[in-house]
């Protein structure tokens, strides 16, 4: 089965999910051709094991994001039975547009794949899991961190094609994030604070823990809605970001169903809450019944010892 993988890029290189897409393609017996939008990360893509070919797609349209234009430019190069992309906001948009252009179905946010092609994905914000069979040709986007990444050591051919498309969405102004902190959607470890933190200034304790272990800092909706200092980009949950980190630490978060929807698929969950009956303990692998005032200094000290 020939699979076209749309590389997920971050400014000047490949996002780690790209190697996971290739790993997932190989796991269902596919060979991968990787398309690099704007040519970004082509050499890196060629070194991923299991990649047979890399096409560096260059064109003016790739200098800013217009999903319709990107899809049009990439679509003329994409071949094969299945197109795969990351279930990131841009990946979903490009993938959905390509599916519509080809009049083929798309399933977004797969967390497991099997031969056939069998696709597993969370629905109802993770409150249920759906397994379906999709016929080829089709488009599938994959959730980051749900698939094993392919290794290195590959040596695929890289070719370059020039393709562009008319850009309809003009970027007038880019407004950088207030903080340079890692985004929760990107992070392998997340520590999130809720209303129980009492004051937005207390998030500095979460930042300190995050700095020790290389984590991103997230928040519950109550924290985002209550305090202007906590931006929506930090919100985890049904109307925030869905995350699947290796470790999620919830501090002063009760564990409302809408919050759980965004983080319950994390590999390991630690909860720190003063209320022994808080629902968050129902999903926590390790629960600590304590106030954050007591627990966070201890956590910092222990993590520094590692």
């Amino acid at each position: 089965m020939d699979i076209t993988v749309i590389a997920e890029t971050t400014g000047d290189g490949l996002h780690p999910v790209t190697a996971q897409l290739v790993g997932a393609a190989s796991s269902i017996g596919g060979t991968s051709t990787v398309l690099c939008p704007g040519g970004v990360g082509a050499a890196e893509a060629a070194s991923i094991a299991g990649v047979t070919k890399v096409i560096s797609v260059k064109g003016d349209c790739f200098s800013s994001f217009d999903g319709g234009a990107w899809a049009e430019a990439l679509n003329s190069v994409a071949g094969g039975d299945v197109i795969m992309a990351a279930a990131s906001p841009s990946g979903r948009e490009i993938a959905a547009t390509m599916a519509a252009m080809r009049e083929i179905p798309i399933v977004q946010d797969a967390t497991a794949l099997g031969p056939g092609i069998s696709v597993t994905r969370p629905i109802y914000s993770g409150k249920a899991i759906e397994t379906s069979t999709i016929s080829t040709p089709c488009v599938i986007t994959l959730r980051a961190n749900a698939f094993d990444a392919a290794g290195g050591g590959g040596n695929a051919d890289v070719s370059t094609v020039n393709r562009s498309a008319d850009v309809a969405v003009a970027v007038r102004e880019a407004i950088a994030k207030a903080s340079e902190r890692l985004d929760v959607a990107e992070a392998d470890i997340i520590i999130s604070g809720g209303r129980g933190m009492g004051d937005p200034a207390n998030f500095s304790h979460l930042n300190e823990v995050a700095d020790i272990i290389g984590a991103a800092v997230g928040a519950s909706r109550a924290a985002v809605d209550t305090w202007d200092e906590i931006p929506h980009s930090m919100q985890v949950g049904q109307t925030g970001k869905t995350v699947t980190p290796r470790l999620y630490i919830a501090v002063g978060i009760s564990g409302a169903i809408q919050h759980l929807a965004g983080m319950r698929t994390s590999k390991y969950i630690v909860a720190i809450n003063k209320d022994p009956d808080a629902p968050i303990f129902g999903v926590a692998d390790y629960g600590i019944v304590a106030t954050w005032e007591e627990a966070l200094p201890a956590l910092k000290a222990e993590l520094r010892k590692l």
């Binding site: 319709g68 979903r92 599916a99 519509a100 397994t131 069979t133 407004i175 692998d285 222990e302």
Partner: protein, 256 residues
């Protein structure tokens, strides 16, 4: 040029507080007691209402779904939707993305609207396919992750979230905007709005009425299941246990 109309695509989904149960390998819809607007569709509707108030453009609420979804359209009328279109499909889960998009694009064409507002993803599918797909079918541009929007004639400026922050973008109609969480919550209806909405006619039609040839679905659902049960966690009392937990994270879970 002025806008002809804004179609707001709204999906009725189980309320976010609803518990989802599975019986016989399928999500049991009959066990769901409360249905609501999909949360991001509320932001789409509120943004459209604000544009309508500023510029007098027609706002048409469009849904595709079973009979119960009519209630949601009436709720949209109560806050100010001018016209209501209901494409009746009893079992949405039997349709694949191509079919849903074909129906919604045809419904938008039917309304005459040149701008479409929708949610960035529906609370049941969590997909995010519809906005971009409908845009392609309508020959319209598409902007996703929108949190703020303003219009001048037929040109829009919008704020969208990106991996590095936000971007202010400009785009002209025809265009589809898929909304992220916005800056203002959906307004509540007043009594007059609720009374007026009861009288508002819902234009109900079938996909065939819209000239959509449905074909077959290319996706067949094998089954639904509850999320995998986690083995019960370990719970510790007091801050003294932090050292134990950190040790377990290192040695048992191998995550730090």
């Amino acid at each position: 040029m002025v806008l002809r109309g804004i179609a707001v695509l709204m999906k009725q989904v189980p309320d976010t507080t609803a518990k989802i149960t599975v019986s016989g390998g399928r999500v049991d819809e009959s066990a769901i007691s409360k249905w609501s607007f999909s949360p991001y569709d509320e932001y789409a509707l509120e943004s459209a209402l604000q544009i309508k108030e500023a510029g007098g453009v027609d706002l048409i609420a469009v849904t595709c779904g079973p009979a119960r979804a009519a209630k949601m359209l009436t709720d949209a009328a109560a806050v100010g939707a001018d016209a209501l279109v209901h494409v009746l499909v009893e079992d949405l889960s039997a349709l694949d993305s191509t079919q849903v998009q074909a129906i919604l694009a045809a419904a938008v064409k039917h309304t005459g609207a040149d701008v479409v507002f929708c949610g960035k993803q529906a609370a049941d599918t969590n997909a995010g396919s519809t906005g971009p797909g409908v845009a392609h079918l309508l020959g319209a541009s598409c902007v996703t992750m929108v949190s703020e929007i303003a219009v001048d004639g037929d040109s829009f400026t919008a704020m969208r979230a990106t991996a590095d922050g936000n971007e202010r973008i400009a785009v002209s109609s025809p265009c589809v905007f898929a909304f992220d969480k916005g800056t203002t919550e959906l307004r509540r209806p007043n009594v007059r709005g609720i009374m007026m909405a009861k009288k508002k006619v819902i234009e109900t039609m079938s996909p065939a009425d819209l000239g959509v040839d449905m074909g077959g679905s290319s996706v067949s659902i094998d089954g639904h299941s509850p999320p995998p049960e986690k083995p019960p966690g370990q719970k510790f009392e007091g801050a003294e246990s932090v050292a134990t937990v950190v040790g377990k994270l290192r040695d048992e879970a191998n995550v730090i």
